[in-house]
């Protein structure tokens, strides 16, 4: 993977665009519908995420953002349409689902660390149990990742002994330990105190710079502006508008987008 220089947004966007045009899609959603009972949570979602692209999904609560990214690793089952991750189409076949999940990291709003395992064991669980890595190698990998998210000294503690920001960074390390091709972030900073948001966003920025394909649901507009290749705006289960951050924040086309931005900015 090449290191894209994100300081030059235009260049980055051009790279991503080029990759999109080259047809190397990491995630494809085609006509995806999702119902919860009678309620339609997703309406005809079409999206392509290119390799190494960073997409930020924003929108009001209940607009289906989380549901959409949870459909990508099958935490939610879609009712119609296709979901393809790195060439694997999600079906009812458990092996397909497992394969997609192995290649997809997910970071949750509530961290969902395993409280009965140490930080180190939280991170090594996936590599050891799913990838059958020997303990020594898994431990080395975990320490490397914990260093990357800047908390190697917490490895022997239990999640309950860490702050929220530290826990979320452990959660990121835990996902990265599976060496995923895509990282999904479901409102990773929404449960954090303001002073801890930055430390998590910094880790995410570093990750984006390293060329990870990322799909981020967030309310952090600063992050969207700085890091995203494209911003997706959703409302009422539909994708309303897609564009570069520049386009999106300075010159949105849809009225619904304008209304949303006027309310939050």
């Amino acid at each position: 993977m090449t290191n894209t220089n994100r300081e030059n947004d235009d260049q980055a966007f051009a790279d991503a665009t080029a990759m999109r045009r080259s047809g190397e899609a990491m995630i494809e959603l085609e006509g995806v519908d999702k119902f919860f009972g009678d309620f339609q949570a997703l309406k005809n979602i079409n999206m392509r995420v290119a390799k190494q692209e960073v997409i930020v999904v924003i929108g009001p609560s209940g607009s289906g953002k989380s549901t959409m990214i949870r459909c990508i690793n099958r935490l939610e089952e879609h009712d119609r349409g296709r979901v393809v991750v790195d060439g694997i189409e999600l079906s009812d076949d458990i092996r397909n689902i497992q394969e997609v999940r192995r290649e997809t990291g997910m970071v949750f709003q509530q961290f969902n660390l395993f409280p009965h395992l140490t930080v180190l064991d939280n991170v090594t669980l996936g590599p050891r149990q799913v990838r059958n890595l020997p303990k020594k190698e898994a431990d080395d990998l975990a320490m490397e990742l914990l260093t990357r998210v800047q908390i190697p000294e917490q490895a022997r503690k239990y999640p309950g002994q860490l702050s929220g920001g530290q826990q979320q960074r452990v959660a990121i390390a835990r996902s990265l330990a599976m060496n995923p091709k895509v990282m999904l972030f479901d409102e990773p900073t929404s449960a954090l105190d303001p002073e801890m948001i930055k430390e998590v966003l910094d880790v995410m920025k570093e990750l984006a710079k390293s060329g990870m394909t990322m799909l981020v649901v967030t309310h952090e507009m600063g992050f969207a502006r700085e890091v995203a290749d494209r911003v997706v705006f959703m409302a009422d289960g539909e994708i309303v508008e897609v564009g570069t951050p520049e386009h999106f924040f300075t010159n949105p086309t849809e009225d619904r987008t304008k209304l949303f931005l006027s309310q939050i900015l």
Binding site: N73, N112, L113, F114, G126, R128, V130, K135, P159, G164
Partner: protein, 486 residues
């Protein structure tokens, strides 16, 4: 609850204290005179209350005390202590019971020590200084006291065995100190030794048949297995395969030595279940049913939540059926009708049939308790497990179950205490457990209709001593798991 992580177990230590019902300010240490005035006679109403309560309590204490220490006729109990404990167990074989006491004292002592060492190991591994709380030390003394009482009761009659048993309890306490110093990687081996000693203690009474050695070999193999595994965390398939292969080899070797060599060297006859009587039966029945009911209940709970309708329906039907009938009806079934259903050539003994009934009964309740625990584990945990690619079974085994079981320790111990007390129902189907022995005692010409209340009080005390110990133990376990691991 921690706002950062609502799924983190509640740390009772740092929780905001509830508003105290006691007077404000730090707890004062008043001189006795002022304390009485302030706490008991601070106004007219409280003075009246104090006077009334002191009168009632004083009178009750006087009557109970007078009964217990003056008028009560304890001689049926004193004369028959040994009968109460072991019933009509052949007296020539009594050394087996004493050997069992010694072995189990060692088992408990060592097991306790290993538990402490394990807690310390985990604590140091997580970089926390391990502090042995003082309440633990207090409880240990208390435990020794109860053990002493029980041992005295079990072996009463002649001084010699009693002395031996007391010494063995002391040795057990010593082993506990030793066990607590075991380094981390040996803890598994110590647990295996504990298991082997426990089985040996069981078999020294019931006889060394093939099954005994089988179990001992199982524990030795488990020890090797645990030594080879890296402690505290499940390993990968490859590591597991080598480990299990080694353990299997050890198992076969150990079993061959035991089965072929030892019977040539020692006497293997024992005293079977049917001759086990007295309080021993209550204790053993509860212990065996507990050990068997737990895994069965666990499986039932998982089956009830499983995605396979057939499994779910069967488990639900079983649980609801068993929970809907009184235990005594199941015991009566075991007494009269099991023979019709199981066409065995050698009929099972009454005790083992009753044990089966108690196990099946308790398993249904354990299943419901465990199900409660499973439901208490937030769905986010399952999602996180799925998201890193764990299979559903591994998610359950490595993530959901450890959390669920820890949450239900108190309820589970409650169930086991209740099971222990329910062993008194064996009386009704004619097993010579302690209540039945009491009846036999009063059939003796000397004690016919004599000291009936006293013997009953004694039986109650025997049950209470064990139940109370169990309940205190569960509190200790809860505290340690809650604080040490989080």
């Amino acid at each position: 609850m921690d706002p950062q992580n609502p799924y983190a177990p509640v740390d009772l230590g740092t929780e905001e204290p509830l508003p105290s019902l006691e007077p404000e300010g730090p707890r004062e240490h008043l001189p006795p005179g002022r304390w009485i005035r302030k706490r008991l006679f601070n106004n007219r109403y409280n003075s009246l209350l104090t006077i009334v309560l002191v009168t009632v309590l004083g009178f009750a204490t006087y009557r109970v005390g007078r009964f217990l220490f003056v008028t009560a006729r304890w001689d049926p109990v004193v004369t028959n202590l040994e009968n109460f404990m072991i019933g009509r167990f052949p007296r020539a074989e009594r050394w087996r019971v004493i050997a069992q006491v010694i072995l189990w004292a060692a088992t408990i002592g060592l097991g306790w020590g290993a538990a402490v060492a394990g807690a310390r190991f985990r604590a140091t591994q997580s970089g926390v200084e391990y502090l042995e709380d003082r309440s633990l030390a207090k409880l240990r003394r208390y435990w020794a006291l109860v053990a002493l009482v029980v041992v005295l009761l079990v072996t009463a009659g002649t001084l010699g065995p009693a002395v031996v048993a007391i010494c063995s309890v002391a040795a057990g306490a010593g082993l506990q100190k030793l066990g607590a110093r075991v380094p981390g990687r040996w803890i598994g081996a110590v647990w295996a030794l504990v298991g082997a000693l426990g089985v040996l203690g069981f078999q020294i009474v019931s006889g060394f048949d093939g099954l005994a050695w089988l179990w001992t070999a199982v524990f030795v193999a488990a020890g090797v297995n645990s030594m080879l595994s890296q402690r505290g965390f499940p390993d990968t398939r490859r590591e597991r395969q080598t480990r299990l292969a080694a353990a299997a080899a050890v198992f076969i070797a150990a079993y061959c030595i035991y089965a072929l060599l030892l019977p040539a060297l020692i006497e293997t006859e024992g005293v079977g279940w049917d001759n086990w009587e007295g309080f021993r039966v209550n204790l053993l029945a509860a212990a065996v049913a507990t050990v068997l009911a737990f895994p069965l209940g666990l499986l039932l709970a998982l089956a009830r939540r499983s995605g396979f309708p057939a499994l779910r329906i069967m488990a639900t039907a079983y649980i609801e059926l068993i929970r809907g009938v009184p235990l005594i009806t199941l015991l009566l079934m075991a007494q009269y009708f099991i023979g019709f259903f199981l066409n065995t050539s050698t009929p099972l003994s009454l005790v083992s049939r009753a044990l089966a009934a108690m196990t099946l009964f308790t398993a249904a309740y354990i299943a419901e308790i465990v199900r409660g625990g499973l439901q208490a584990v937030p769905n986010g945990q399952v999602e996180a497990g799925n998201a890193i690619g764990l299979s559903p079974w591994k998610t359950t085994r490595l993530i959901v179950l450890p959390q669920a079981l820890r949450a239900v320790i108190p309820a589970m111990v409650g169930q086991f205490i209740s099971l222990f007390k329910d062993t008194s129902l064996l009386y009704i189907i004619g097993v010579a457990e302690i209540l039945k022995i009491r009846e036999l005692v009063h059939a003796q010409p000397a004690f016919r209709g004599y000291g009936i209340a006293e013997t009953l009080i004694f039986v109650m005390f025997a049950f209470w001593a064990v139940s109370f110990t169990m309940s205190r133990e569960s509190q200790r376990l809860e505290r340690r798991l809650g604080v040490g691991e989080r």
